[in-house]
């Protein structure tokens, strides 16, 4: 069959989600953010929540998330997204409210807000992009930076005697009674991307069903910050990040 005979609406198996805007993302080539944005857009569309979803954008690389997904957004102060989400959800309980936060935003400056929102069991979704580095400000150490990992503020590698240990925050979420679903996923392969989408979908459904806080950690790459090609970064992530941050559900109290 000729190529042009195949490119027809009825034969399409994958298309760009409608909710993604035409704006070219400012992310570096190969950045995991783009994949997760796409998945969020797909999940919102598939659940028919376009008119109900409110995203809370962080400070960090995803600060401009509101330019890419065509829903209402609030851009938070650094780390405060879960506090904002708590208020929005309580004031408008029928809306779908999610935060989208990086490791610095969620696990350093915003630890208080994220832990307490989850502990209150706010019916929100926290999407946590963990790439072990501060991307936007130029590759400084994050709370999740691995031991020995070089960043611009740990140029000789993170030393636990100086900088403490990589913070595994999802297990902290998992032990809180307010969370119903805590999972750690990645988007480095097609199969993992599918799993992350399924996790996001469950999380969004949990929030709409009032089951408590869902946390979806996505172990991600920052190839620019890690100073690797995107493909090398994926490999490095599997060999290093996933050892410290193994994938899978940490908690799921929701019967399927």
């Amino acid at each position: 069959m000729d190529k042009n005979d195949i490119i027809k609406e009825e034969n399409r198996v994958y298309k760009r989600p409608k909710l993604l805007t035409d704006n070219i993302m400012h992310y570096c080539p190969g950045c995991s953010h783009g994949v997760v944005h796409k998945l969020v857009a797909e999940v919102v569309e598939e659940l028919g929540l376009e008119e109900k979803t409110i995203g809370i954008a962080p400070v960090g690389c995803a600060v401009f998330a509101y330019n890419y997904i065509d829903i209402d957004w609030i851009e938070a102060a650094h780390g405060r997204a879960p506090a904002i989400a708590s208020a929005v959800k309580r004031l408008m309980p029928d809306r779908m409210v999610f935060t989208y936060q990086g490791d610095g935003d969620l696990a350093a400056i915003g630890t208080c807000e994220s832990i307490h929102a989850a502990n209150r069991g706010e019916n929100i979704v926290i999407i946590f992009i963990n790439n072990g580095i501060y991307g936007m400000t130029g590759g400084q150490m994050a709370p999740t930076t691995l031991e020995g990992m070089k960043t611009s503020t740990t140029p000789y590698g993170r030393r636990v005697d100086l900088n403490g240990y990589p913070l595994k925050i999802s297990p902290l979420f998992a032990q809180l009674d307010g969370t119903c679903y805590v999972t750690r996923q990645s988007v480095h392969t097609p199969a993992n991307t599918r799993k992350t989408k399924a996790a996001l979908k469950q999380a969004f459904q949990n929030a709409m069903n009032g089951l408590g806080t869902s946390v979806v950690e996505v172990v991600s790459t920052c190839n620019s910050g890690w100073k690797m090609t995107p493909a090398q970064a994926n490999k490095w992530m599997v060999e290093n990040m996933l050892v410290q941050y193994p994938l899978g559900d940490l908690k799921n109290t929701v019967k399927k």
Partner: protein, 357 residues
């Protein structure tokens, strides 16, 4: 009832949508009263004890971004923590009400009353060029009334307003007439009044994004200029003050909040001694009643500014009267409250020629 309790009652009756706060003396009665009244059962108002003042003010930011009438209260150290969120709310041009029942500082300071957060409230306590509409109540009745006024002004100009009360008004018990109960606004009313509100994007409009970030300098300057134009408009239209016995006054006392009442007693005592002192009580500390002080400074021989701080409002008084007459400050610190006689002693100390006895 107590001033702090009046705040809570008035907010429910105003039809407020949400309160987010964190306990701190001497204003914890606001949250306590709200929890006791359970407005979520009646008006549907949300009340949430947050994990910190930082979280509370950001909840207010989030609620305000949804077009809701939301407020928070705290006392001085807590309001310092809220400055981050206040700057964002001002930058986002969001209506919100903040209440500071001031205690003595700096640092952890004291739980006793103070007026030492005048600079913080009126000059923009957080980062960036912004202003807060600052209301200074001097009675429990005004605590109740200024909730509605603060919300109304906040929504009129899409900017945060602050009730800058001192611990005396917060803890003082007086009779108060509460406003009638108003219903909370419906979603339709909010959409009409606040077309910018983040409510979930219907297919009929473009997405609403509440952000305070703009990296393009020329665009950020436009945003700043717009804010400054709004502040100018507020300065032109929203100055509020009260005067007592200023018509024939030879001297002027300027004081705000609870200390203005102590000063009122002092000037009455002075009148009995034949000394004509008038009192000007700014109700809005920003916008400041500079024109009225300018006008009065042209007919009095001197001005005494009485504050429960080391001298903050005096700077605005001096700027208002253009060095026309001597301006002195009297205040106590650390939670000490001067009595009328101390005020008069200070007055005669600075203006010995006024003493006719």
């Amino acid at each position: 009832m107590k001033g702090n309790e009046a705040l809570a009652h008035a907010a429910i009756r105003y039809g407020a949508d949400g309160y987010f706060g964190y306990p701190i003396t001497p204003q914890s009665e606001v949250l306590e009263t709200l929890e006791e009244l359970m407005p979520w059962e009646t008006t549907g108002m949300v009340v949430l004890q947050a994990e910190s003042e930082v979280a509370a003010i950001n909840m207010v930011y989030g609620g305000a971004a949804c077009g809701k009438a939301v407020f928070t209260s705290s006392s001085s150290p807590g309001v310092s923590l809220k400055q981050e969120g206040i700057s964002y709310i001002a930058a986002g041009e969001l209506p919100a009400l903040i209440i500071n029942v001031m205690r003595g500082g700096p640092g952890l300071g004291t739980i006793q009353p103070s007026q030492a957060d005048y600079f913080q409230a009126t000059k923009g306590g957080g980062h960036g060029d912004y202003r807060l509409i600052t209301l200074a109540p001097s009675s429990v009745q005004e605590m109740a009334d200024f909730v509605g006024l603060g919300f109304d002004l906040a929504f009129k100009y899409c900017t945060p307003s602050i009730i800058l009360a001192d611990g005396i008004v917060g803890q003082m018990m007086e009779k108060v007439v509460l406003p009638p109960q108003r219903p909370r606004r419906t979603d339709e009313e909010i959409a009409r009044q606040c077309p910018w509100a983040v409510t979930g994007k219907p297919s009929t409009r473009k997405r609403n994004v509440m952000t305070t970030l703009e990296l393009e300098p020329s665009a950020m300057e436009v945003i700043n200029n717009k804010l400054q134009e709004k502040y100018k408009l507020i300065e032109e239209n929203e100055v509020r003050f009260q005067t007592y016995d200023t018509d024939d006054a030879e001297y002027l006392v300027v004081a705000f909040g609870s200390i203005a009442r102590i000063c009122q007693k002092a000037i009455e005592d002075a009148r009995e001694q034949g000394v004509k002192i008038g009192l000007l009580r700014p109700i809005t500390l920003w916008p400041f009643p500079k024109d009225e002080i300018d006008r009065l400074s042209q007919k009095v021989k001197g001005i005494l500014v009485v504050e429960i701080n080391a001298g903050q409002m005096i700077e605005d008084v001096r700027l208002s009267c253009h060095d026309r007459v001597p301006v002195y400050h009297f205040g106590r610190l650390g939670g000490m409250i001067p009595d009328p006689q101390e005020v008069l002693d200070a007055f005669f100390n600075h203006f010995p020629e006024a003493n006719k006895q």
